[in-house]
Every structure is written in C-alpha cells, then in structure tokens.
C-alpha cells in the first residue's frame, strides 16, 4: 500500500488547551471555512506557503539568487502564486528567516514525534489531538494517524469544524476518544457571511456524532460583535440541548495572536483593531449556557 502523506503545518508538543492532560497537537493544513477571526490563517490554504520572518531576515539576498523560477524578486518580495515550493530558498537562507507553512509528512514521521511525549500523556491523562485547518479535509491521513495512536494506547482527540462528509466521521468515530466540535453561529445567513459556508452540514454532523455516542465537547470561539450576542449563544445552547446529551461547552475568547501571521502571508487582517472582550462579558456568556443546564468553561 502506498504511504499515506499529509499536509501538516505544525506539531505542537506540550499543548495544554486542546483536550485533557498534556497533548501533542498535529495541525493539518487546509480548511473549507474562511472564518474572518481565524487565528491560524496559515491553516486555510491546502498547499504549503512560503513566509519570511522579517525579524530574522538579514537581507543577504541569497533567496533571490537561488530561486530558479523568479518567485522572489530583487527587493526580496515573495510571489506565492509563482512559487512551486521547491524549498531552494529555505535551505539557502542562513538565518532561518524563510520557511514554509505546511510540510508534506508521512504518518510514520508524524507519529514518531507523537511518540516522543508518550510518558507525559500517561502521567497527565493526555494524548494526541488532531486539529487544523480541518483534519477531515485529509481523512485518509487522519484515519491512519489515529489508528497508529490507538494501537499504541494513546488517547486521541479530533478538533473539527464539522464541515465534511458524514462518511468521514463514520470512519474515524471508533478511533477518536474525544471530538472537539466547533459551533460558530446558528443563524445560517450569518454563518455564511462570517465563515463563507452554510452550517447545515455542520449541524447535521453534530447531531450524527451525538446520536452515535461520540465523546464530544462543543467549542465556541467568542468573537466580539459577531457571535457573542445572547441571541446566538442561546440558540447555540438550545441546539446543544436538542442533541439530547449534556455536552460540555468550552468558550474560547477572541485573541489577536494571529495578526502577525496575516502580515507574514500578506493577507489583510479583517478584525484589525477589535478589542478583546473583558472577563465580565465572558462570564455572562458562560452563564447563558449554564442557564440551559450545560457545563461551561472559559479557556
């Protein structure tokens, strides 16, 4: 059988907020959604993207001279459309300023890294989390990776936006110890406006997983002025209650840590200047879910 390869943009060890215990989070590249608050803009495109850390660049010009197809000009500006990800410039860069968001990796390679922290998982009740992007964009790779983890007795979690063919969930359900299922907006119009896609599939998949006994927690990013109205949160709570399971809700307040990555990718930051919500407001949001009898935690 051919080796299964995946596009991975980061493997983060000692993750403490993506499921229980100490975890290693594997971030898969490519996402069908375009949430305007996205904190990982590098996760969106399926292909690798060349970036330069300006702070590390020493302006030596080697990248320009080695690029065989002129994707870097004399002013060292990057032309990503032209770039064919040959990585000549990255290996020529003496300061490590150039790198690619995204890397083609085999399951073996990724799993080797996952195995490095196996003792920390055992001691903390942690494990592997597959996140993204949307992991279900690369179901074969994710299924194979989860399979390996299960085989080694490592707890698994899958962080998903829920936008995929239900058949993919069917494949990973027996391999997934915990689904971290994102719900952003209940109103389909608004969902389309802010994420670029309709939410019908997402809500259907949430219901399917809940019905089929998946262990799951609902994750909601709290974006000021976009989805943190009591109206949206109440509808979300009602939807969750309607799933027939008392699912735990995690609220993830908005942060702008991703802003710099937009800059590096030459992408405009849609939420520029937006203030982070205060604790009081977050508490009020939590109370809405609690009023529906749901356990809720702010991260």
């Amino acid at each position: 059988m051919a080796e299964v390869l995946g596009q991975v943009f980061n493997i983060q060890r000692f993750s403490t907020d993506d499921g229980p215990g100490i975890r290693t989070t594997v971030f898969m590249k490519g996402c069908p959604l375009r949430c305007i608050w996205c904190a990982n803009p590098e996760s969106q495109a399926a292909k690798p993207q060349l970036v330069r850390r300006q702070s590390a660049c020493i302006g030596c010009g080697r990248c320009y001279s080695v690029c065989p197809i002129g994707a870097i000009d004399a002013q060292l500006a990057l032309n990503r459309d032209r770039c064919n990800a040959c990585e000549e410039c990255v290996s020529a860069c003496p300061s490590g300023a150039l790198s690619f968001y995204g890397d083609t990796r085999s399951v073996d390679e990724v799993f080797e890294t996952v195995l490095q922290d196996v003792g920390y998982y055992a001691n903390s009740g942690g494990g592997l989390t597959v996140s993204g992007g949307e992991p279900m964009q690369q179901p074969d790779f994710v299924e194979a990776l989860l399979q390996r983890a299960c085989g080694a007795g490592i707890h698994t979690a899958l962080d998903t936006c829920g936008y995929c063919d239900t058949a993919f969930f069917e494949r990973v359900l027996p391999l997934t110890g915990l689904f971290l299922f994102d719900l952003k907006l209940i109103d389909p119009e608004k969902h389309r406006e802010y994420t670029g896609v309709d939410n019908a599939i997402i809500l259907k998949n949430a219901a399917w997983l809940a019905k089929n006994g998946a262990a799951m927690r609902i994750r909601i990013p709290l974006i000021p002025g976009i989805n943190d109205s009591s109206e949206n949160l109440s509808s979300t709570a009602r939807f969750i209650v309607g799933l027939g399971r008392r699912l735990h809700v995690d609220l993830l307040p908005y942060h702008n840590y991703g802003e710099n990555k937009y800059k590096m990718l030459d992408m405009p930051y849609p939420l520029s200047g937006i203030a982070r919500s205060d604790e009081q407001h977050n508490t009020r949001c939590r109370e809405i879910f609690e009023s529906f009898g749901l356990e809720c935690e702010i991260h």
Binding site: R13, F14, T16, G21, I58, S95, Q116, Y120, N123
Partner: protein, 820 residues
C-alpha cells in the same frame, strides 16, 4: 487497618495547616527588620579567634581549634531583639558576619580594600565596615598572613603548580585569589535535639576511657586529643546558649510588658536546657536546631550550611506537642517555624569577590523535606506540609527547600509543593528525585538505609547528612569545558592568553570527521583532569590536615568512634569532601553538532570558514553565525545533538570517577548549581555554536542554552533524560521557566506535576521551575527600589533580584519563557 496505622503515624490535618497565619505582628516586624537591614563586616569573632590562637601556640591542632571555638562562644556578642522567640545572632547586627581570618586572611583583606573603595570591584555590593572593625581586622590579618591554611595551600600551589596562574587567566578553572573556608557543611541536627550536647560529651568521655595506649599508642594519642577537643567545643556551645539564657533572664526582670516578660522567661528556660540537654518540646527543638546551625557557622563561617531533613528531625517534638498532647496550636508552631525561617535569612558570610559575583545574595541553606525514610516508607508528614505553607507566607529567599519526590509521596503534600512553587514563582521549593539519587548512591557503595537518608546541599547538590560533609573549596573545582573546546580548535593553545595550555591534538583543519573533534576534546580533558585531580588531592589534603572543626565533628558520624576530625576523614563518607564540577557541556555539544551538520554532513561551510568566523568573534561573519545557530541544539529532543551531549556527559563523569580522591573512594562530578556559567562565559571566546565572546554559557548542567530550546518543555525534559547524567555525580541541575498563567488552576497544576513526574520516571534528578515574566524583571531593573522583595532562583537558589549584579540580571532575562 492500614488507614488507622497511617493516621497514627503521619496524620496530616490539611485544613488546619492551611488556615494558619504565621505572619503575626511579631513575624512581620522581624521580616521588616531583616529586609531593611544593611550588611556589616564585624571583627569580634576574628579578634577572639586570633587571641586564642596566640595563646595556644605549640598545642595539638584539635585542641587549639576547640579552644578557639570555645573562646568565640564565650566572647561573641549576644543580642536578643524585640519580639524574638528564637534567639541567637551571628554578630550584634541583624545582618553581619566576621571573616574567618583563621582560615584565610586574604578574604578579609580583599573586603577591607573593597570597603575602602580604593580598589576592588564596584559591581559587588558594599557592606558597612566601621573604622574600629577595620583596624581590628587589619591587625588580625597581619597575624594570620603566612600562618593560615590558605597561605599554606597557596605556597604549595605556587611552588608545585606554577602554571595554575595560566589556567586561571585562560578561564579554564575558577580563579580564586583566596580559598573559602569550608562551606556546604551539615551536621546531625537530629542527634543534638535528641540526646543533647551533654549526651555527646558523655559519649566522647566513654570513648576516651577505651583508649589503652597499648597496641596503638600513637593512634590512641591522636584520638585522645580529638576527643578532648570535642568535649571542649561542645562545652563551648553550651556556654554560648546559657549566655543567652542569662541575658533573657536579665531582660525579663526589667521588662514591663507582662506578655513579653513571660516570653523572655520562656526563652531563658529554653536556652538553659538546649542544646545542652535533649529538647523537651517543639520550641526547644527549633531553638536547639538554630543554636547548632549558628555555632557551626561561628566555628568556621562561610555559606551553604544545610539544615538538611528538617521535617524529619523536628517532627518527633512537633508530633508530641501538636498532635498527641495538643499543648501547642498549629498557629503557634507555624509562628516558631516562621521565626526560624527569618533567622535563616539573617545568616550571612564575608565572601571573596569571586563568590559575590557567582553566588550573590544568598546563603544556600539547602533544606530538604519529604522523601522516603530509612525503611523506604513515605516520610512526608504534617510538618513537611506546614513548612511549605510557612515558606509561602514568609516569602523570603531562605531557606531553599528541596522536595524529595518518590512514587509513594503523599499526593497532597506533593501538590502543595507545586502550588507553593507557582505561588512564589522563584523556583523555591525545587524538586529532586529519590529513585535516581538512591540508585546512584548504592552504585557508589553507600548502604541502602543511609542512601535513603540523603539530603540536598549547596546549590542542588546532595549528600548523606550527618555522615558526610563537604570540605573546603580551596584550590579549584570548576572546570570550563567550553574553554577546553577552544583548545581543541587551536591545537591546545588558549586564544585568550596565547599560551599553550592544553596538549597538541592537531590542526582542526585537517580533521575529516566529527569523531576526530570528539577524540581531541577527550584527549585534552584527559590530560587536564589528571593534573587537576592530583593538584586537588594535594591541596585538599594540606587543607584538611591543618584546619579542623571539632564542633562540627562532634555532630558527624563516625568522628567520635574513629577519634578523627570530620575534615581529616572522620566522617563515614569522606568521599564527599571534594568533587570536580564540569561546566559548559551544552555549549560543547552544540558546537560539535553545528560543525557536524554544516561542515561534514551538509557541507555548507568549510572548517576554515568556521574558524575564521569564530576567531573574529563573528564580526563581519553574521551569516555564518546565523547558520551555526540554526544547527540542531541540545534541549529539543533531537538525537542528532543529544547523542553527542549524552555520550560526552557519561564519558566525562566516568573519567572524573576514575580519579581517586584523597579520602578513599573516587571523585564525583559536581553537577549542581552556582552560576559559574556567567563567569566562565565571560572568559570564553566565540564558539561554533554561535556563542559570542563573553556571553554566559548555558546554565546548570542540563538546562538548554538560553533561548535555544524551541520545542517546548517536554522536549527539553526528554533531552535531559535520555541517559542518567548523575550516575557518578552529586547532582544534575536543570532549570526551566514558565509563565504563571500556564499553571493558574488545579487542573494545570496537575499537568505540571505530570511533567515533572515523567521527567523523574525517566531518571531525571533535579528540576527547578521558575515562574517569571520579562516585563516584571525589566521594571525591576529600572526601579530596583520598588522591587526589593522580588526574588529569583539563579541556578539552584533564590536571591533578591535587585541584589544581583547586572550581568546576572540580564542573563536571567534572556532565558526564554518555555511557552510563549
């Protein structure tokens, strides 16, 4: 049944301990007085010691040392300050010390000059020295110059090892103008508390009776003198305590406040009884501990006297008063502990400038809690738990507490230790691992029961307390591995001084593989260590043969039985008296990995380019420096470099272990703390790992280079625990920093616990977790007066941040937070 036994044995009332408030008005007043005090250099002890020594000329060494000690006990100023419950002060000042001129007048002379402001190092903190004290000390120094042990060692070194000066100038070893008096001592505090000094005098007398002068008259004579000396010294300590008893009584008579009057009467009674007799209650046990600790310092003042397993030897009286008889409330017990914690912060020493720079602002009084008992059971008790709470409430740098972890440790005590660590944020308490420590001691022939009784000493080192002690640190014991790597790059020549210090190992331009570099490094070390070890044997032997400590020896097994001073080898495990500390291996391994990667594997650079860049300190070679810095670095769980680090670490410790120490047994590799990485960094030139001339080396023994561990803490822990780095070592120090918000709740604290426990299961030994943010430190640098209480741990100990020299402050700030 088990539960009932457990209750009776080590019952802990967690809620009751958590609700104590040891910051009573009294304790607050004592803390304030200490924080606002200025350090003094005093002359009394020196004067008394000098007088006594003049009078006893011609007598036996042990007797002379005992009489000297007794004279200090009879004459050292005594003072009982407002509100004190635990009494006993080094000098008349809250913070003051008298230099051990009898050991080495050079330290006093150096300090006299510094305080004179005519010379000396302005980066070192000034202390007050009155004109009267200066004159007195100058007189004493005149007498001792040429007579002291320090002089004897120096004479010998100069004669036999004239090249030592070159070594020091090169930066290969720690350069000390003057040797320090024996530090990192400890005694059997428990025995003093249990049987009293009179009991030990009786023991010494009984031993004397056994001396028949028949078969081994010469040996019996030596023993006889030693035992006489022990008796004189112990009597001296009793006299000292009873002077306090009388002073308290006099003060009580004059006292109008009835509450304080009663306290003074109590103090008088306590000091009459202890340490002469066995402690009858908790208050007496604590006072007895303090007197013994203080007397050990007054016999031979320096630093790093280790209270050792305090939660064990104070527990019997705690249990009797608090748990069984219930005549002492937990609140009052906590207040007594707080009083003695403040006292530990009043301890100081007159240090040579080398130590002021390297181990500033602290006394390194390593205090150990938890661990297993001699039978292997969990030794955690309510006092361990209370110590942690008191440590958090008093919130001063001393004592540095080391929590001995093992699989059976009481979980609530363990989690409390983690919670306090995060609450204080300064790496105190730190954590040590029973299983790797005990295993390594067993491998070195220490019997199981004694191995289980180990305790921390100095900067995260370890020892068998009451049965072993450190000797002096005369001569040299730190060796700069990064410097040796410079020799490798220059065929044995030191680029700093231009002198050929190492041996010829060949022109590195001709090397065709990384193994040749490694072989050259081993050859250089092999050559240097055999010289260093021999020199250390000679100088240490001169030292311990001429400077005895009868008081300390009286409280160390098996000195009385052997009739031999502790330093001369009377202790049960004399192999701890001297060790050699190898430092900077992280830089060496990272340099080797960089050469391997860029020159041999990827062939992106030639060795010539690397050497040119290094000899130019990377000026004009920034691109090459960037390339070298991007090569694999230790601390990222990358076998490419970790393998080099691990193989060399084991080779070095085994090579050191193959040398004999002069007391029987083999040499230890000293892999504990202190900040030699700053001093060594200052004299180390540019290296192929990207290190620039003068920058600090990586700290401790196992901490990754500053800012180079980019794969998170689990990767750094894994790098540090692929092999057992403390196999032939006193320690294996590892420091990590985290943002506070990572561990801001109980769930996250459990993750911290899991991380440490996994490191320990992998064979790690020591971990110190600092919780700090750069912003706070920057503010503290700008406005030090607003941050007088800000503490940090620097490689194995706590100090007030504002007390640290600027370069050490900067170094702390440059370490990355583990998770950003």
């Amino acid at each position: 049944m088990d539960g009932i036994t457990k209750m009776q044995e080590n019952h802990i009332d967690y809620d009751a301990v958590n609700s104590v408030n040891c910051l009573t008005d009294r304790v607050k007043m004592l803390i304030k007085a200490r924080v606002e005090s200025t350090e003094h250099i005093c002359s009394e002890r020196s004067r008394l010691a000098t007088e006594s020594w003049k009078e006893t000329e011609g007598e036996n060494l042990d007797i002379r040392r005992a009489k000297l000690f007794r004279r200090v006990m009879e004459g050292n100023p005594i003072v009982i300050r407002e509100g004190e419950l635990i009494v006993g002060s080094q000098t008349q000042y809250i913070l003051g010390a008298s230099p051990s001129v009898d050991y080495n007048p050079a330290i006093a002379l150096e300090n006299i000059k510094i305080e004179d402001k005519t010379s000396g190092d302005s980066s070192v903190h000034n202390v007050i020295l009155t004109e009267e004290d200066r004159q007195s000390l100058t007189e004493d120094c005149k007498y001792w110059s040429g007579r002291s042990v320090g002089d004897a060692v120096l004479r010998e070194s100069r004669e036999r090892f004239p090249w030592l000066k070159d070594w020091e100038e090169s930066g290969l070893v720690n350069a000390q103008k003057a040797g320090n008096p024996p530090g990192a001592k400890n005694v059997d505090y428990g025995k003093a508390i249990r049987v009293g000094l009179e009991g030990i005098i009786a023991e010494a007398k009984a031993e004397r009776e056994k001396l028949e002068y028949a078969e081994h008259p010469a040996e019996d004579y030596r023993k006889d003198n030693f035992l006489k000396a022990v008796i004189i010294a112990l009597e001296g300590a009793i006299i000292y305590a009873r002077r306090y008893s009388k002073l308290a009584k006099e003060m009580a008579e004059k006292e109008r406040n009835p509450i304080r009057k009663a306290e003074l009467e109590k103090i008088s009674e306590v000091c009459w009884n202890v340490p002469a007799k066995p402690a009858r209650n908790f208050h007496e046990a604590v006072q007895s501990f303090w007197f013994i600790h203080l007397c050990t310092n007054l016999e031979s003042a320096f630093l790093a006297e280790a209270p050792s397993r305090i939660d064990q030897y104070l527990y019997p009286m705690y249990k009797k008063d608090v748990i069984v008889e219930r005549n002492l409330s937990r609140q009052d017990a906590a207040e007594l502990l707080a009083c003695v914690f403040v006292k530990l912060n009043e301890m100081t020493a007159v240090k040579p400038s080398y130590d002021k720079k390297n181990i500033p602002g602290t006394q390194l009084q390593a205090t150990t809690i938890c661990g297993v008992d001699r039978d292997g059971r969990d030794a955690s008790n309510e006092l361990s738990y209370m110590m942690l709470e008191v440590l958090a409430q008093v919130n001063m740098p001393q004592p540095p507490i080391y929590v001995r972890y093992h699989a059976k440790i009481n979980r609530e005590v363990w989690m409390k230790a983690l919670e306090i660590n995060v609450r204080r944020g300064d790496g105190n308490p730190a954590f040590m691992n029973d299983s790797s420590r005990i295993q390594s001691f067993l491998d070195h022939g220490i019997p199981l029961e004694d191995a289980r009784d180990w305790a921390a000493i100095g900067c995260a080192g370890s020892i068998i307390p009451g049965r072993a002690t450190h000797g002096g640190s005369l001569g040299i014991n730190y060796i700069n591995l990064a410097k040796i790597f410079e020799y490798v790059l220059n065929d044995g020549k030191d680029p700093r001084t231009g002198k050929q210090i190492g041996i010829h190992t060949g022109d590195p331009l001709t090397f065709t593989s990384i193994d040749q570099f490694i072989e050259a490094f081993k050859k250089q070390f092999d050559y240097l260590i055999s010289i260093m070890a021999k020199m250390a044997r000679i100088t240490t032997y001169i030292d311990v043969s001429n400077y005895h400590t009868p008081f300390l020896s009286a409280l160390q097994s098996d000195c009385i039985k052997k009739g031999m001073d502790a330093r001369a080898g009377g202790v049960r495990y004399p192999q701890f008296l001297y060790h050699i500390a190898d430092r900077g291996l992280q830089n060496v391994a990272d340099s080797l990995a960089a050469i391997k990667k860029l020159v041999f594997d990827d062939k992106k650079l030639t060795m010539k380019q690397v050497l040119e860049a290094v000899s130019a300190n990377f000026e004009g070679y920034e691109v090459i420096r960037h390339m070298l810095r991007s090569a694999p670095k230790y601390g990222n769980d990358d076998d490419y470099v970790d393998r080099i680090f691990d193989d060399l670490s084991l080779w070095l410790s085994r090579r050191i272990d193959s040398e004999l120490n002069p007391f029987g047994g083999r040499l230890w590799a000293g892999r504990s703390g202190a900040v030699a990485h700053v001093t060594f960094g200052r004299v180390t030139g540019a290296l192929p790992d990207g290190h620039k001339s003068g920058e600090p080396l990586a700290d401790g023994f196992l901490s990754p280079q500053q800012g180079m561990d980019t794969h998170g803490p689990t990767a750094a822990f894994n790098s540090a625990s692929k092999v057992m780095h403390m196999e032939n070592s006193n320690a294996a120090l590892m420091n990590m920093k985290f943002e506070r918000k990572l561990f801001n709740n109980k769930t996250n604290l459990a993750k911290l616990s899991a991380m440490i426990e996994n490191y320990f299961q992998r064979g790690g030994f020591h971990i110190q977790i600092n919780i700090l943010d750069r912003e706070t430190l920057e503010k503290a640098q700008e406005r030090p007066w607003e941050y007088t209480n800000l503490m940090v741990r620097v490689a194995g100990y706590s100090a007030f941040f504002v007390d640290l020299p600027r370069n050490v402050q900067n170094e702390i700030m440059s370490r990355t937070n583990e998770v950003i």
